[in-house]
């Protein structure tokens, strides 16, 4: 390729990208930077935020992790971690089972696992609210079985973790499936032929080769679960508030403290970016 041709090609590439660059610059990167700026500001009446660049305030960050909010942050991380574990427990055997079907059925079963996920997240959480409410279906079934029909399922950590698990399970199944499908099944046979038991084979042969899928799935579940506020709003209560709910409250609720909410959002974003960067460093192909 000649030099001029290469230059025209680069120019064309930039021209094609220009609209998207402008769009994402103005409506994604710009607003995110504004949030960072606001997180260093002071709460006012009108305008609601004042930023004094000579004296940026770190007070908001201290407040975002003070004894009022740190437990909520840790609780969100705990719920997200528990949901991730549940997704692994449910998703790993499922992904393994799908990968061992004949090629004709693999796609079908994979699609079946993803279809519920393609419907509205809100509606799926509402379906659980409908089932778990006090005069809901679960209590009715338990009552009919003579196990008592007045249990409180909603507003418990279990309900929120269940909702998060249900909401993000396909995010775990897909990368795990991709990793298991790439694995050579003869390795498993070789391992058992060489005298390894099932647990040993799992630990020494299966686990190492599906690790990339496991890490990707963990990030794909943990990240959205950590910032979720729909699930705690529908299935949780005052004792199961998550960090996303607190952030939301600072902007469109009673809290009404934009600088504090901005600092919380920045913290959330930083935690997530650390996870993503670690994963990208680890995976060989790097950026998508």
């Amino acid at each position: 390729m000649t030099r001029t041709r290469r230059r025209t090609e680069a120019l064309r590439g930039h021209l094609l990208l220009l609209p998207t660059t402008l769009w994402l610059g103005a409506l994604l990167i710009g607003p995110l930077l504004v949030v960072v700026a606001f997180s260093l500001g002071r709460r006012g009446i009108n305008p609601p935020v004042r930023v004094d660049w000579a004296h940026p305030r770190l007070e908001n960050y201290r407040r975002a992790l003070d004894p009022d909010f740190l437990p909520i942050f840790l609780r969100s991380a705990g719920y997200a971690a528990a949901a991730t574990l549940c997704c692994v427990a449910l998703g790993f055997p499922l992904a393994y089972w799908i990968a061992r079907r004949s090629p004709r059925y693999r796609t079908l079963f994979l699609v079946l696992a993803v279809v519920p996920f393609l419907t509205s997240y809100l509606i799926r959480m509402y379906a659980w609210q409908f089932i778990l409410q006090r005069n809901g279906l679960l209590n009715a079934v338990l009552g009919a079985a003579g196990l008592g029909d007045d249990r409180a399922f909603l507003n418990t950590p279990g309900a929120v973790i269940l909702g998060l698990t249900y909401g993000f399970l396909p995010f775990m199944v897909l990368p795990l499936y991709a990793a298991i499908e790439r694995m050579d099944p003869s390795l498993v046979e070789a391992s058992s032929d060489l005298g390894h038991g099932r647990i040993s084979t799992f630990r020494r042969v299966i686990l190492p080769s599906v690790m990339p899928g496991l890490v990707a799935g963990t990030l794909l579940v943990f990240i959205p679960a950590l910032g979720d506020f729909v699930t705690p709003a529908l299935l949780g209560g005052t004792r199961t508030v998550m960090y996303g709910s607190v952030i939301q409250d600072q902007f469109r609720g009673g809290g009404n403290n934009w600088p504090l909410g901005s600092a919380m959002a920045v913290l959330l974003m930083v935690v997530i970016m650390i996870g993503v960067i670690v994963e990208l460093r680890r995976s060989e192909d790097g950026l998508p």
Binding site: R12, L17, L28, L90, P116, G136, F229, V230, G261, I272
Partner: protein, 281 residues
């Protein structure tokens, strides 16, 4: 043969997980036809909650808003995202990696962070009133990355010898693009558009922060109702939304499957076929 029982355990597990995935949705759909006012005792089949919806002015307005937003943001995101995907898949230039990182940021940024960032931006930086316009701008922003990823994945499998063959046979770059590249990319573009449409249709969090009083979409309307408690008409409305998104997806899957079959045998297309030694796969 000794492995047999383990696979049976896995099969039981798989059946249970599928039941777990589908049961709540089916429960919702079934109970939307329940005659009773309070949810869980079945008193008889009825479509009264569906007819109650058709007369509801707020629902009708939310429905129209949802469609307007989804159509507008899908069109914009598909056009812009396709340009970007072409640039990333078929051109080499500096800043390529930085750009991929930008796309990644918009994929991994939590919805709530994107939502408040757009709210802050619309209210404090440009100071526009929140309404359908701001919702559409927001939806294009988060749909773009999905379109780029889908179209780019399709173009990555593109056989460059096809364009070289077209050029060798005397096609101008514009002709090559319109008659060779675009038809082959078409179902990637369609796939991206359908994904964008469905994501826009279902979005709650970002719409929650960028919608104003007059621009309530169906998910926002449902969120408001659900927070007040379970109402039977919400079961019916949810069922309609579920069926609508699944119908769009099924339609999309059917059309892309057809497009895939067609582009696999380019010589059978109507018009002057571009024949080249590279048409085999």
């Amino acid at each position: 043969m000794s492995r047999r029982p383990r696979f049976r355990y896995l099969t039981v597990h798989a059946v249970l997980v599928y039941a777990f995935l589908f049961a709540p949705i089916l429960v919702l759909v079934v109970f939307s036809f329940n005659e009773a006012r309070s949810g869980t005792t079945w008193t008889g089949f009825s479509t009264r909650w569906y007819s109650a919806l058709t007369g509801d002015e707020a629902v009708r307005r939310a429905f129209t808003n949802t469609l307007k937003v989804a159509v507008a943001s899908t069109l914009l995101a598909t056009v812009l995202g396709t340009f970007a995907a072409f640039a990333l898949a078929r051109h080499r230039f500096r800043g390529h990696r930085a750009y991929s990182a930008l796309v990644l940021v918009s994929l991994v940024a939590p919805e709530i962070v994107m939502g408040i960032a757009l709210l802050v931006f619309f209210r404090r930086v440009v100071d526009v009133p929140l309404g359908l316009g701001t919702v559409i701008l927001a939806h294009v922003t988060f749909c773009l990355a999905f379109v780029i990823v889908v179209v780019r994945a399709r173009l990555a499998r593109f056989d460059e010898s096809l364009t070289e063959a077209a050029a060798d046979l005397g096609a101008t770059p514009a002709q090559t693009f319109l008659r060779v590249v675009l038809p082959l990319a078409a179902h990637g573009i369609l796939g991206g558009a359908i994904l964008a449409f469905v994501i826009s249709l279902d979005d709650v969090v970002i719409t929650f922060f960028t919608a104003g009083p007059g621009s309530t979409t169906l998910p926002i309307y449902i969120l408001g109702e659900v927070r007040r408690g379970v109402a039977p008409s919400i079961n019916a409305l949810s069922t309609i939304v579920l069926v609508a998104s699944l119908a769009v997806l099924a339609l999309g899957a059917a059309v892309t499957a057809r497009a895939a079959r067609r582009s696999d045998s380019p010589s059978t297309r109507s018009g002057r076929p571009v024949r080249s030694p590279g048409t085999h796969r």
